[in-house]
């Protein structure tokens, strides 16, 4: 909403105050529900991360402290800039944006720059947009300030070590954690929970013999680990149903898993230009009792899934299920506000470590 003003760290608050004074007659309301610290390595992904931040602000105004670390070893700098950003949703809510650009050994100063600018009494959320399994000297100081850390598994080199790092944070340090890709699955989690909601359906769940998950294999500049959401979904289902993993096999672009009780699962890709990369396109479930469940996203209406259910003695009428808030950013915002770490998420991470032994992600 205002252009960034480069100021020395000591003048951050006074410059913000000056900007706000200049907006006095514009009926903009300075608002903040929480502090959002964002860390990312300066790259082409930075714009994508900024886009996520804008989505958050559109829903909930917050004070943003956006740290971009320039990995170029020849550079040494620390620059700070301030601006105010408007929410596209309400229009009148506007919030503070403090940008910190840092390179080389100057990273040491970053926590000291951030600390005086956290708004008291409000939660501090850290969006760590890099692979947490890679040691970064800023991670611990920023994590220490944070009420909750939100990761992006898309940035992870290996899903297994990503899951291990998150579990260590949760189980050894008691840190609240979340992941963007887990948040993106919220619609699918709701869909499965609401489908298997009767005695008969739960019985079917316990008799699954085959499961196929199809994800969108459309790679982009920002998304290349496209199997993650599918792996999360498989890990969720298998951990909740207590399946014991036995074998893994890769056949062309398909990934085959077997579990105890002769349960088989397959992850495969398809390509739909209109849908987000890596998103779940469909899921098929077959049971030993000849029930078949087929859930498929409608490419023309990506927030809707068509549900077809066929039992051994009847076919049900297909119906549409609305995947709530699956727009980018919306799921993240919900995840931020659902306090505490989901116990299903923790179970899923444990299961992922088992399923991803071959580091397919």
């Amino acid at each position: 909403m205002t252009t960034q003003q480069i100021v020395p760290p000591a003048q951050i608050e006074s410059e913000l105050l000056r900007i706000w004074d200049s907006l006095d007659q514009t009926r903009q309301m300075r608002a903040s529900l929480f502090n959002l610290i964002v860390f990312n390595e300066l790259s082409t992904r930075t714009d994508y991360i900024r886009n996520i931040v804008q989505k958050i602000i559109d829903t909930f105004p917050c004070r943003v402290l956006f740290v971009s670390h320039d990995p170029d070893p020849s550079k040494h700098y620390l620059k700070t800039a301030v601006s105010v950003i408007a929410s596209k949703g309400t229009g009148s809510n506007v919030c503070d944006d403090i940008d910190i650009g840092v390179a080389g050994s100057e990273w040491e100063r970053v926590p000291y720059v951030i600390l005086p600018h956290l708004l008291p009494d409000l939660p501090v959320y850290l969006l760590w947009a890099e692979d947490p399994s890679h040691t970064h000297p800023l991670f611990q100081p920023l994590a220490k300030l944070s009420t909750r850390i939100i990761f992006d598994s898309e940035s992870a080199d290996h899903l297994t070590s990503f899951a291990q790092t998150l579990l260590n944070l949760k189980e050894q340090k008691g840190q609240d954690i979340a992941d963007l890709n887990w948040a993106r699955l919220e619609g699918w989690r709701d869909l499965l929970a609401s489908t298997f909601d009767s005695k008969e359906r739960i019985k079917d769940l316990n008799e699954i013999d085959e499961l196929t998950i199809t994800y969108n294999g459309r790679e982009t500049e920002f998304f290349c680990h496209l199997k993650i959401q599918a792996m999360y979904l498989l890990a969720l289902v298998s951990s909740r149903l207590g399946w014991s993993f036995q074998t893994f096999e890769k056949k062309k672009n398909h990934f085959h898993f077997s579990f105890d009780q002769s349960i088989r699962a397959k992850i495969e890709s398809s390509f739909i230009q209109e849908l987000p990369p890596g998103s779940i396109l469909s899921m098929k479930i077959s049971t030993k009792g000849q029930s078949h469940y087929h859930f498929a996203i409608n490419p023309q209406q990506p927030h809707q899934a068509t549900v077809n259910i066929t039992m051994h003695d009847r076919c049900e009428l297909p119906y549409r299920f609305i995947l709530r808030k699956s727009l980018m950013g919306q799921s993240l915002v919900r995840e931020i506000f659902l306090k505490g770490t989901s116990s299903f998420f923790v179970e899923t991470l444990h299961q992922l470590q088992i399923l991803d032994r071959e580091t397919i992600c």
Binding site: F34, E108, L115, D121, K339
Partner: protein
């Protein structure tokens, strides 16, 4: 009683008087005292018959002194630029008197000069002596003032009065403060003694009484049934600067905790006074200090944490450690940080811990009293076994003076996640003007003869009684300093201390 002065409506009127500042060339005079007097004058609060005399050792003419003060006012006054029209008349009421503090002739001449001023400006013999000098000079100056009849015996002369304002520190520990008290009470009655603690002159500190006792909703929950704990923080981002030699003698316990923080504790915790008179208010304050549980051996290591800053970063700029500051011993064991847990053993506060922390070179300048309330009973809104945030009432003393209340709120939408939000009142936003400087109020009160906002001798003694054992323990046990980096919120031991009680320090 003045028949034309309607109680509660007319502004209180001050008697004609002369204010004599000892240590008139010092830092405090230029930065705080003279700008405060100037503001009082501009706002019409000074008596028409008023004069200010600077007493110091350096040779100087009245004109030179006036020029220097004008520069100080231009630099440090809260309203700028200086009001030239007012200054031209005001400067004629300012004088300079050169003398050593132990020189009899200097006091003889002062007495003569004050009489001349009385006859010229109609100040009627009323005197305020402001001792802005190192504490070692207090007894000597008071004795000389007495010797040359500049201090009047209380009750001996109903037409004239004399008062003495004494800057902190009032003593170095319990014994030295008792010695000092003994020295000055030979010549000064308690009602003439104004021990200044500028914190008490701050608007937000004064508002504490209004906030507590003029709002029934808060006072009824202001007790151990509803309050989990209290945190009082006095944080400064600046280091020692040019005060190295002074700080080496004092440390932050003496410089900040013994006076400012203990005053804040007593105002937060006191019972309602029977009236707002000086005696009633100070009686209640001193009861709080007398109810503070004495520290025992176990506390010195576990519930009182001292620290000293090492090098670090303030606002992104690297800064040196305390031991590298000018006029500081490179192996100094003086504390620049202290955190402690207190208990007030009375009915209202039984088992409610008061956590105090004060420090130099912390991330930001902030003085705050935070009242953390107990958790709401039941588990209606607990999410996955996690408790919701407690309500916190934060009273910001400086900067951004105001009061904020943290409450939990449902986020709009069909599901019910709960988010803490703040209701925030700021003096600046609401009243649209910067509050008066503490010294303005306190100097004015001293002219009015109202010592409610000044520390009484038993308050000072009670405070030293609590803290002197700490100083003695520290003197006998050498710390490993530095133990926190400049720009952080203090040593990790302080975090552990509060964490052991299942609580955390607030991030301000």
């Amino acid at each position: 009683m003045n028949p034309l002065d309607e109680p509660g409506r007319a502004s209180r009127t001050t008697d004609p008087c002369v204010l004599v500042i000892f240590g008139a060339t010092g830092d405090l005079t230029g930065r705080k005292l003279v700008p405060a007097i100037y503001q009082l004058g501009r706002e019409g609060l000074l008596p028409s018959n008023f004069a200010c005399v600077g007493f110091a050792r350096r040779p100087k003419t009245d004109e030179q002194f006036r020029d220097e003060l004008k520069e100080d006012i231009s630099t440090y006054s809260r309203t700028k630029p200086i009001d030239e029209t007012f200054w031209q008349s005001f400067k004629e009421q300012i004088f300079y008197h050169r003398s050593d503090f132990d020189d009899d002739k200097g006091y003889q001449d002062l007495a003569h000069k004050l009489m001349q001023i009385d006859s010229r400006l109609g100040t009627r013999g009323n005197r305020i002596f402001y001792l802005s000098v190192p504490p070692k000079y207090f007894p000597q100056i008071i004795e000389k003032l007495h010797k040359f009849n500049l201090i009047y015996k209380v009750g001996a002369d109903e037409e004239r009065w004399s008062r003495v304002i004494i800057e902190k520190p009032f003593g170095h520990d319990l014994a030295s403060s008792a010695d000092l008290q003994e020295d000055i009470e030979k010549y000064l009655h308690e009602s003439q003694t104004y021990r200044i603690d500028h914190y008490l002159g701050k608007e937000t500190v004064q508002n504490l009484l209004v906030f507590r006792f003029a709002n029934s909703i808060f006072e009824s929950i202001w007790n151990n049934k509803y309050i989990d704990h209290v945190q009082i923080t006095v944080a400064e981002e600046i280091g020692i600067g040019t005060r190295g030699a002074f700080f080496e003698e004092e440390g932050i316990l003496r410089d900040v905790v013994q006076n400012h923080m203990m005053q804040l504790v007593s105002l937060v915790a006191m019972e309602p006074p029977v009236n707002l008179g000086a005696t009633a208010v100070r009686d209640e304050k001193v009861k709080v200090l007398q109810s503070i549980r004495p520290f025992v051996q176990n506390d010195f290591d576990q519930h009182i944490i001292r620290g000293q800053y090492g090098s670090g970063y303030i606002n992104g700029e690297s800064v040196i450690g305390y031991q590298q500051e000018a006029n500081v011993n490179p192996n100094s064991t003086i504390e620049t940080y202290v955190a402690m847990r207190l208990f007030i053993d009375n009915w209202r506060w039984a088992s409610v811990p008061f956590y105090l922390r004060a420090g130099k070179r912390l991330p930001k300048r902030a003085t705050e009293i935070a009242i953390t309330f107990k958790d709401a009973p039941g588990f209606l809104f607990n999410n996955q076994g996690r408790k919701i945030d407690p309500n916190v009432l934060a009273i910001r003393i400086q900067p951004n003076e105001g009061i904020a209340l943290k409450i939990n709120c449902k986020i709009p939408g069909p599901s019910s996640p709960i988010q803490p939000v703040k209701m925030d009142f700021r003096y600046g936003s609401y009243f649209g003007q910067s509050p008066p400087e503490a010294y303005e109020r306190l100097i004015w009160d001293s002219m009015l003869g109202d010592n409610t906002l000044f520390a009484r001798s038993d308050e000072v003694a009670s405070s030293w009684k609590i803290l002197t054992p700490v100083l003695e323990y520290w003197a006998a046990n050498r710390p490993a300093f530095p133990n926190y980096s400049a720009g952080t919120w203090g040593p990790t031991e302080a975090d552990r201390m509060i964490a052991n009680n299942g609580r955390i320090w607030r991030i301000l």
